[in-house]
């Protein structure tokens, strides 16, 4: 008698592929593929990468540290989290390369030890925080947020940080302040995408972003210094980044060196590059499609291969409906 049929294994978070196996994927692809012809045809930087990659992999990885934080009930959601190995190796961070697997490879030597974050502009008490201040000045809490990329994929990530509002209140904004402008580090020596336009997509650096002051003060708006219990790795925006969960991911600017309060709407990088595709507000909105693709649904990246049906409907404001009053008088089709 044959044994009764057992259904295939149900996958849970415990079954996440080990990171080292996952990182071997590239090598597997290469050994399967026709390496010679590809090296001939792909661009010189890539072609060179085939030979140098081994040395790079030997380079010491960026060190992250465990953080102490509280876990407020309100922000512990039950949705399946994206495995850490995926959230830290599938990144849009053009300063370290335009392909999503490039930042994790190119950012490991990123040095944040001399970091300063300035908060100035229309404030009574301009601030300068150093690396230590970033994780010690304000009490840290963990918040599990959905992250919706404008490219119609999403993740669920446990961030660690504090409300941007707490930081801004410490600087004491003037009553004339209406907007907040953010700026990423500009240091071509450390960021290859800023040195080479073929690596960095030819966008204008430094990367800049902005929020209206009431958006910035909203309790959901987070200054993040860590994820999955540890400080941020460079590909995710070390040492400090913004997380605005109801807006498309590109609003959540990484590796911030300056926060300036202004009375005028500040320019933002993607809007400057293609204003018909990326607006200043960039609120997640299933009814306003990107000119090149629909935003009505998204693919949630967790675990499971090709056959997992991970396309889910996109929710207005990425499901954070509590921010709706911020936009009550606005036409969101025009102000996308």
């Amino acid at each position: 008698m044959s044994k009764p049929f057992k259904p295939s294994v149900k996958l849970t978070d415990n079954h996440v592929t080990d990171e080292s196996i996952y990182l071997n994927r590239r090598r597997l692809l290469k050994s399967l593929g026709f390496v010679g012809a590809s090296a001939l045809l792909s661009n010189p930087a890539n072609a060179a990468g085939w030979f140098w990659e081994d040395d790079k992999e030997k380079a010491e990885a960026f060190k992250t540290q465990a953080l102490k934080f509280s876990q407020p009930e309100k922000y512990q959601i039950s949705e399946t989290q994206t495995p850490e190995a995926k959230a830290t190796s599938y990144n849009n961070f053009y300063e370290f390369g335009t392909a999503k697997d490039e930042p994790v490879k190119n950012a490991q030597e990123f040095d944040t030890s001399e970091w300063t974050l300035k908060v100035d502009g229309l404030v009574n008490k301009p601030l300068t925080l150093n690396l230590d201040d970033l994780t010690k000045r304000f009490p840290l809490e963990e918040r599990i947020y959905r992250l919706r990329c404008v490219e119609a994929w999403s993740m669920v990530i446990p961030w660690i940080g504090y409300e941007l509002g707490a930081l801004l209140r410490a600087a004491d904004p003037l009553s004339s302040a209406k907007y907040v402008a953010f700026e990423t580090l500009y240091e071509p020596k450390q960021m290859p995408g800023q040195r080479n336009r073929f690596l960095g997509g030819g966008i204008e650096y430094p990367y800049v972003e902005g929020l209206r002051l009431d958006e910035a003060m909203h309790p959901l708006t987070l200054m993040s210094v860590g994820l999955y219990g540890k400080t941020l790795p460079p590909q995710n925006g070390a040492p400090v980044r913004l997380v605005v969960p109801w807006k498309y991911g590109f609003k959540s600017i990484k590796s911030i060196v300056r926060i300036r309060l202004t009375d005028k709407q500040p320019p933002t990088t993607w809007n400057r590059l293609a204003s018909n595709e990326y607006g200043f507000y960039a609120n997640v909105n299933p009814d306003v499609s990107h000119p090149r693709w629909s935003q009505a649904s998204e693919r949630r990246i967790t675990t499971g291969g090709l056959l997992s049906r991970n396309r889910i409907p996109t929710e207005m404001y990425n499901g954070y409906s509590e921010v709706a009053p911020l936009y009550s008088s606005m036409d969101l089709t025009r102000n996308f």
């Binding site: 012809a37 960095g200 090709l306």
Partner: protein, 220 residues
């Protein structure tokens, strides 16, 4: 310019082995990709990796196919031409896998989404047009059909010179900025096709001039 004085030839056995090797690589890689994708060993987002790999290799194979006739002239050798059909068909197979990945795993058979995306999004329309043309070239690649079609076969297969820019436009348009990988492919394709496009244009012009002359002659 010619690399060898006498035409280069290989034995039937060598040619067969080489073809077998190409089949093994092209099919093996495709099967390997799908297998790794289904078992979640294709990176953080298997759909994204599969879309990129099938797409880029469809382009690589297309460009390799187009390199064969200049190679035949430079060597000189009749051999490269004997691999042209096979590699061209593999380019179509990869392009079809790319499209299938988009429909099955990216849009996940959401019919209303498929309907709007295929019609409304210009870069998808451009890619689909190229795929349909490649399909036409593939089904007319049998010797029998080729002989039956006579002169029209060459006309149809000249559409490869339209397929290349369509495919590269689809590639460029799918990126978020201009200064990315596709730039190198445009450059390579331009160098590869420059002489042939020049040739096509001059013959077309000559033909036009001749027919004009004839008309002129009959009138007088």
């Amino acid at each position: 310019m010619k690399l060898f004085k006498k035409p280069v030839r290989v034995s039937n056995l060598t040619r067969r082995c080489l073809k077998g090797f190409i089949h093994l690589l092209a099919l093996g890689y495709l099967v390997g990709l799908f297998y790794a994708g289904v078992t979640d060993n294709l990176g953080p987002d298997p759909v994204d990796t599969l879309l990129n790999e099938t797409g880029i290799w469809a382009i690589h194979l297309l460009l390799i196919t187009l390199m064969l006739s200049p190679l035949a002239k430079i060597l000189p050798s009749p051999e490269p031409i004997k691999f042209r059909r096979m590699l061209g068909i593999y380019s179509f197979v990869y392009a079809l896998s790319h499209f299938a990945t988009y429909i099955l795993f990216e849009l996940q058979l959401d019919m209303s989404l498929i309907a709007t995306e295929l019609v409304k999004r210009p870069y998808i329309v451009v890619g689909l047009t190229a795929l349909i043309l490649l399909f036409a070239l593939t089904i007319t690649s049998f010797q029998k059909i080729r002989r039956n079609m006579g002169k029209r076969w060459q006309h149809l297969h000249n559409s490869i010179y339209i397929i290349v820019p369509l495919v590269l436009l689809h590639f460029s348009w799918s990126q978020k900025t201009i200064w990315q990988e596709p730039i190198w492919y445009w450059l390579f394709a331009f160098i590869l096709l420059f002489n042939r496009i020049k040739g096509l244009v001059t013959t077309a012009l000559k033909k036009h001039a001749r027919s004009k002359n004839r008309k002129h002659a009959t009138q007088t």
